[in-house]
Symmetry: D2
Subunit: 138 residues, 4 copies
């Protein structure tokens, strides 16, 4: 399955009065991790949405376990991996490490979403085959 | 000129490792202060954009002076006031206080913006007269 | 068990290019929901940390399920409830509704944490009895 | 005077419902730009604060002018430059470009701040000479 690694520097503004990363920022980083998976698949998000008339892959469930705190100045790596692909949804696992040690483990369930021209609303749809193929090819 | 007061509680996640509000959050709050000015004018932002085909009032310049730090748990008030209205732009002043003492002073210059159906881009436009009237009436 | 309700207005800056709340913001709001549980228990966070030499209740696991998108201008309610209290950790459930309909369900597992004066590090500790009593009394 | 360039990718979560960067994020990035100036000067922020007993360089005034909107997927460069150094304060200019075109210009006035062991409060202090020398050497 497709995997991609992002390197980040934890910033002062990412951290709270305890001096560690405020938890919501991990989810912001994980979201970007998934965006970069599309790019690693050969489909930068802009191109992906435009080509397939999609609004994106809506997040329907996400979870994170925090093992070791991260602090400003830390150089971290986020490895994002597609763990399962279904007809119109897929799962991603994000593992955040510092110096090779796992600090945070996260997961996302996402549903491929397109505009419904009749209702003006958003509805789920099958994931484009080319994307599925790249997710599976790794 | 129109003025409106917002009350907020400073949250743990708004603050940095020094224990005080991280500066970017003030600008987030000021932006919301301007949104609430529209609502105080009788035009909730949703209605305003929809009625006049606008994309909003683009921020072209903003500034803030920080006098007294704010910290998590503080109950603050943000007074947003229209200070000048021109044909297609207007100025807003935001004064953030705690216990009546000025902590932060901010200002914004905003340009009324609409979709250009010919180019698909955004362009400036005259501020709707009804909004101007309410801004001036105070 | 103790429960508390927060009312919020979703702001323009909370939303992403799809026009809906960017997921990380829900976790920011949930964190504040837990802070307000302390206050509902009679222990504003400042007082709680100072009185018991605590650094807070470290988040070790959190999860959210997204059912209905929220957008800027929405008036939402977040009901935070202590669902279980153990010796040094507790669980919180957050239910976010709009017009009475559940939009997001979240949960947190938190570990009570204090400074270890010998090592300078943070370690888990029993939750103060007065707080446990208030959590349980509801 | 010392200058440093940061490269960033604008993320989906940095942008608002208009599809462009929400203004507060620019200030977050500028703050990190200043942090990286310390590092470019040979003093990573952690080392700087620890060595000189400082709490950082408190932001007392900041301003930004927005010329061209940035959107998610944009690769941007932020050039941060020390523009003036006084006894206990200094100025920084941040220029954000995309494809060589200036999108945002920002500025900061910062005051060197240390703990006052007598009062427990923060007070301004002369900028460490070694840092001043590196700021001036460029």
């Amino acid at each position: 399955m497709l995997s991609n690694v992002l390197l980040r520097r934890v910033e002062w503004g990412d951290c709270d009065p305890a001096g560690i990363v405020f938890n919501s920022n991990f989810f912001r980083w994980f979201d970007h991790g998934t965006t970069m998976l599309y790019e690693a698949a050969g489909w930068p998000k802009h191109l992906l949405l435009k080509t397939f008339g999609a609004t994106g892959a809506a997040l329907v469930d996400t979870r994170a376990s925090f093992r070791i705190p991260c602090s400003w100045g830390d150089d971290i790596a986020i490895t994002s991996t597609v763990t399962e692909v279904r007809n119109s949804s897929f799962d991603v696992r994000h593992v955040l490490t510092r110096d090779g040690k796992v600090c945070v483990e996260g997961s996302e369930i996402r549903v491929w979403s397109v505009h419904n021209p009749e209702t003006g609303l958003i509805k789920s749809a099958p994931i484009p085959e080319v994307l599925v193929a790249r997710f599976r090819a790794g």
